[in-house]
Symmetry: C2
Subunit: 234 residues, 2 copies
């Protein structure tokens, strides 16, 4: 457990999308005593309100700094989240849905690894979750393990015997567990945006997969849902 | 071996820096029958002439298209190639030199993987080389193998049983072997820029590690060095 004295607290890079899961991951990293450097990636997502949410969350959860790195995944398309001509599904779909963004978590973890190496941080946090998720391949424990194995070989620090640890504390939790833990840690979920097609103000559609999983999580946790919906929950 | 009929040739994403090695990797991918989609990454490198070289090389070696993705690694610094306040060494250095860019090849391969998935390409090419290189951790065979293992888990295609193959054909060659193979394949090395501090026209310094390795490679290969040096070879 890292020391709690902020001056000697070890640094961690925390991927922060602005959604519910990554906000909780940030709160957990903070509670574990890390000085948190929050990283958001502007990859051309249609729900840009997510990035505004990330700024609010980083500030309120005590991140030391918040960096937004831009990388143009929208230029290559291939996902409903980056290509406006592909509709966001409003009914549950089988297998991997079109909201999957090709190699997104690989790209984000790679950027986090780069920043961690410059900061001399040994710890990365990512709020992926395999249970109450959309079935994305890059949210599974075996993906996280493979990235950790890669990171140990990829960097100067790894070669010198100080490989990064990749923490995915929520990976096997239910959405309700995530929410209960976040509430305990003081996360204000009203600041977060999960909706895949949130409007510019962050108001949610209530119909996409992300909205459905989020709402069901609050219900199961017995926690009032603070989400602002565009036309009221259905 | 893929078919040689261009209409049915399988697609490959080829990372193309504009330097000698990646130009050769592109020529090899082309000879193996792939339709080549060349990818360069503008990460804020000080030697922007590299990207102009990549454009020339992509065109002359028959790439189907050439994409430049921008990602701001210069914003995080930590390398002589992205931070103008860190000098490029002009003498050989021990261990991993300051020209190492944190997690650069991890970031580049992640972007290549994303594009490959959208293109439904199963093959990635990268011109890394462990023998006549600067000792970067992310140029080693074990790094490439770990990335291939990650890629198989990271993507929809991987989950569905069509994982990407990561080709690093030069990885165990000497620089002289690379040059001889490139000459056989018609690579015009005058188009390439290897120098870490090339000027805007692409003229090389003759003194950095990349220049030294390149010049020694031409000498060992017995091939005239077509590099334009700023003040003549030393």
């Amino acid at each position: 457990m890292p020391a709690s004295d902020p001056s000697s607290a070890p640094a961690a890079v925390v991927l922060l999308s602005g959604g519910l899961d990554s906000a909780t991951a940030l709160a957990i990293a903070h509670e574990r005593g890390f000085t948190c450097h929050a990283l958001s990636v502007d990859y051309g997502q249609r729900h840009a309100a997510e990035l505004a949410a990330a700024r609010r969350v980083a500030r309120s959860l005590g991140a030391r700094e918040h960096r937004v790195m831009r990388v143009d995944l929208a230029g290559i398309g291939g996902s409903a989240l980056t290509d406006p001509s592909i509709a966001v599904p409003e009914q549950p779909t089988a297998a991997i849905p079109v909201t999957y963004v090709p190699a997104r978590n690989t790209v984000m973890l790679a950027l986090a690894l780069a920043w961690a190496e410059v900061l001399e941080a040994r710890d990365l946090f990512i709020g992926v979750n395999v249970l109450d998720s959309s079935g994305y391949p890059d949210c599974r424990p075996e993906f996280i393990d493979a990235f950790a194995a890669l990171a140990a070989l990829a960097t100067r620090a790894g070669v010198e015997g100080r490989p990064c640890r990749v923490h995915a504390p929520l990976i096997k939790w239910s959405k309700a567990q995530i929410i209960r833990e976040g509430v305990r840690l003081g996360v204000d979920y009203a600041q977060t945006v999960s909706c895949y097609q949130a409007d510019a103000s962050g108001a949610a559609c209530s119909r996409c997969d992300a909205c459905r999983l989020r709402r069901a999580g609050f219900e199961a946790a017995g926690v009032p849902d603070p989400t602002r919906y565009r036309s009221g929950p259905r």
